[in-house]
């Protein structure tokens, strides 16, 4: 009698467990589905917001508005025929230092090294791909800056300098050699002490940049006239 009671209780408990299990599965599914629906709604909302922001940006930076700003402030003009180069050979043939040569967007002379660098600022735009890494020695710079020197002689001059540097290596500072000169277009300008990056929060384009753009545009339109 007692055994039968235990047995039926066991059956009862087992069936309750199974029923609960069956009940829980759809509940779990419904909860997951609800979460999914919520995510879908969130995605849709985010997409709508992105769209709204994009549209706001487009509206604020509409082409008519940009044109007006350009007319009032920047004065940029379309590039003229002379500012296009046909192919790589023509690009290589460009001579930036020539009196009527192309005007570079910005030219940043070498930042003066610290006292032990002993390198005078070099302002010629000679392509110094070979000499640049060894520019820490005054001799090499002197050899390179004489632009009239035939290439062979320059190389001759550079080779001993290399040897000299190799010898002097243990005694030179650990500071990496700085390139002689570079254009702002080719490489990022060295960080200025006033930390241009930190100013991004305040103004996207700082005054000096706007000024650069304007003076460049003015010089260009003057040369065109």
């Amino acid at each position: 009698m007692l055994g039968l009671a235990w047995k039926s209780l066991g059956w009862f408990l087992a069936s309750v467990a199974v029923a609960l299990g069956f009940l829980l599965v759809p509940l779990q599914v419904a909860a997951e589905r609800k979460k999914l629906d919520r995510t879908v709604v969130e995605i849709a909302r985010a997409e709508r917001e992105i769209r709204a922001l994009e549209t706001e940006f487009d509206t604020r930076a509409s082409l008519a508005q940009l044109d007006k700003w350009n007319a009032e402030k920047l004065g940029l003009v379309a590039p003229s025929a002379g500012q296009f180069v046909a192919d790589e050979a023509a690009l290589a043939a460009l001579e930036p230092s020539a009196p009527n040569g192309p005007q570079l967007a910005s030219f940043v002379p070498l930042a003066p090294l610290s006292a032990e660098g002993q390198v005078a600022p070099v302002t010629t735009a000679v392509t110094t791909t070979k000499a640049a890494p060894v520019a820490a020695a005054p001799l090499a710079v002197a050899a390179v800056t004489t632009t009239a020197t035939p290439v062979a002689r320059v190389q001759n001059a550079v080779v001993p300098t290399r040897a000299l540097i190799a010898k002097a290596k243990p005694t030179t500072t650990s500071r990496p050699a700085a390139p002689v000169a570079r254009t702002a277009m080719a490489a990022v300008a060295p960080p200025k002490p006033r930390a241009a990056v930190a100013m991004l929060d305040r103004a996207l384009l700082d005054d000096s940049m706007i000024g650069d753009l304007r003076s460049g545009a003015r010089a260009e339109s003057r040369s065109r006239r």
Binding site: R48, T55, T59, L63, A64, A78, S80, A81, A86
Partner: protein, 576 residues
């Protein structure tokens, strides 16, 4: 001593009385139960009805709202029209708590579009709800929310927005109700032409890509707008056309309207002058006549000379050249360079009515311009082709077409002689319509040389853009009004193509009734006002369109160059 105080025995009710009370209570309980059941039934019935007949919440709103439409993009994917959720600010006047006058004052301060009396009127009206502002920025909504007035409500509702505001307004069109039809639908431009496609819930997800290039459109609008103000012109139009596909890269009609805000727009501004207005386009027709003559073998020799020493008398008409033009015998290149009416008329006379009309028909001048837009005007075709009509149409008088017709005719002249219908929809690479041949390759090649000569030596000099090898023809048509042609009012047009050694784009600029300025020495001819617009547009957009300027290349005109007499003194191009 003990005293008993006994409670008096209450009078006991009779048995029947009790039974009656119980019965009444039962009846009351039954009624209560019935009421509750009826309530339940009502709720269940309502749920069943909703379940069977109702639609999900918000679905009706989405399906019906006519502001929800597909996007319109330019050829590079830049959105030109889209629907966004914009903030709207409304007011429920009955729920306002604070002082209405003060509230109206602060609203007028935050939203200066209206004065405080307007807002006060809105705040005190009897209705349940009214709008205060649509298209509100989130910032504005925050400011008004900070007023803390519970009667003012905010909602996000779909709104049609044209991010570039007035740019390409005539191409895009607008949506809204009209005076006779309160239904919101596309009422002009692409919005009207593709209304069904844009508002179809199944297809509005995919945007429409136009052939318009927003950058070129903006440059054209800015240059034409400047010329229009400068010369105080009544209207101006501009078209840029891809000569190999018929795609319209830019279509500008000034004055323009703002599709975001139509109130107060004049009917002049609503008209698309590129497709809805017809003009007698003057000397820009001369290359078409010459091309027809070359193509039909009427002119076989470029050196053949015609008499331009004196005005041409035909019946009671006299055809003049301009005073500055050389009074000599002119050959074919000279005819175009000096834009001689007299010689063109003689050539047209030799060609005759049939061949002239056939050429105009082949170029589509007999029908409305080929475009998807519904706003199209038919050309004014001569009713009677007399001998003089043939002569005058050859130099663009007596026949009136839209600027789009002219642009497409020039595309046919320079692209090798194939006529293709113009389109405002982007054409996939290689999917350009085959078109039909109107001119031979040789005629087209000759026309390229002649048009380049006009720019190198003639009236189109100001339309040149260095390195882009522009070729084109100016035209100054007199405006026909009541009592004949007006001497002082004209339509100045410059139709050009570039680069002439392998033409890719046609650019047409037209000014309606320009005035002379000090810089143009008081002249109103196209050489002084329309040609510079084209030159500047080409130098601004040529590189964007994939044409690299190159001063070392040009079309070979050495064959024709010696034929052009440049005179003892260089004649100033005052002509048309």
């Amino acid at each position: 001593m003990t005293t008993f105080v006994a409670r008096p025995v209450p009078a006991r009710r009779g048995n029947e009385q009790r039974h009656a009370l119980v019965a009444v209570a039962h009846v009351r309980l039954m009624m209560l139960m019935l009421l509750i059941m009826a309530g339940f039934l009502l709720v269940i019935g309502r749920i069943a009805i909703l379940g069977i007949l109702g639609t999900p919440a918000g679905a009706a709103n989405l399906a019906v709202n006519p502001q929800v439409r597909g996007d319109i993009l330019d050829r590079n994917g830049q959105p030109l029209a889209r629907t966004i959720d914009a903030w709207t600010i409304g007011v429920r006047p009955a729920q306002l708590l604070g002082d209405r006058q003060a509230l109206a004052d602060s609203l007028a301060r935050i939203m200066p579009g209206h004065d405080s009396s307007w807002y006060l009127q809105r705040l005190t009206m009897r209705g349940k709800f009214t709008y205060l502002d649509k298209h509100a920025s989130p910032d504005l909504v925050n400011q008004i929310h900070a007023l803390g007035e519970p009667g003012i409500v905010f909602a996000r509702e779909p709104e049609r927005l044209y991010p570039q505001s007035t740019m390409a307004a005539h191409v895009l069109g607008y949506i809204g109700p009209t005076a006779t039809d309160a239904h919101i639908a596309g009422r002009a431009g692409i919005e009207r032409a593709f209304d069904e496609r844009l508002s179809d819930p199944r297809r509005r997800g995919e945007p429409i890509s136009l052939s318009i290039d927003a950058r070129v459109q903006a440059a054209m609008e800015s240059e034409l707008g400047r010329a229009m103000t400068n010369f105080k012109a009544k209207a101006a139009t501009g078209v840029v056309l891809d000569v190999h596909t018929g795609e319209i890269i830019s279509m500008v009609s000034l004055p323009v309207y703002n599709p975001n805000k139509l109130t107060g727009t004049s009917s002049d501004a609503l008209r698309n002058n590129v497709t809805q207005s017809v003009y007698e386009l003057g000397s820009t027709f001369k290359p078409i006549a010459i091309a027809a003559a070359i193509n039909d073998g009427v002119i076989t020799d470029m050196t053949r000379r015609f008499d331009a020493t004196k005005p041409l008398k035909v019946g009671r008409f006299t055809i003049h050249d301009d005073r500055g033009d050389p009074k000599r015998w002119l050959n074919i290149p000279e005819t175009l360079v000096y834009s001689s009416n007299v010689v063109t008329a003689q050539i047209a006379d030799r060609m005759g009515k049939d061949r002239m009309a056939a050429m105009f028909t082949a170029l589509g001048f007999g029908e409305r311009p080929a475009t998807e837009l519904r706003e199209r005007a038919g050309p004014i075709w001569p009713r009677y082709w007399g001998r003089t009509t043939v002569m005058t149409t050859a130099y663009g008088h007596g026949i009136a077409v839209t600027p789009l017709h002219l642009a497409n005719a020039y595309a046919t002249l320079v692209n090798g002689g194939i006529y293709r219908p113009t389109t405002l929809l982007k054409v996939a690479p290689g999917a350009a319509p085959k078109g039909r041949r109107v001119l031979t390759e040789a005629t087209s090649a000759r026309m390229r040389q002649l048009l380049r000569l006009v720019v190198l030596l003639g009236t189109g000099r100001k339309g040149d853009a260095v390195g882009y090898r522009v070729g084109g023809k100016t035209g100054t048509g007199e405006i026909a009004g009541a009592g004949g042609y007006s001497r002082s009012k004209n339509v100045s047009t410059f139709a050009a193509a570039f680069p002439m050694d392998a033409p890719r784009y046609v650019v047409v600029a037209m000014l309606d009734s320009p005035n002379g300025t000090k810089e143009t020495y008081g002249l109103t001819t196209a050489a002084w006002n329309a040609a510079p617009v084209v030159g500047r547009v080409i130098s601004r957009t040529g590189a964007l369109l994939g044409v690299t300027p190159d001063t070392s290349r040009d079309i070979d005109v050495s064959q024709l160059l010696p034929l052009v007499w440049t005179g003892e003194k260089k004649p100033v191009p005052t002509a048309e």
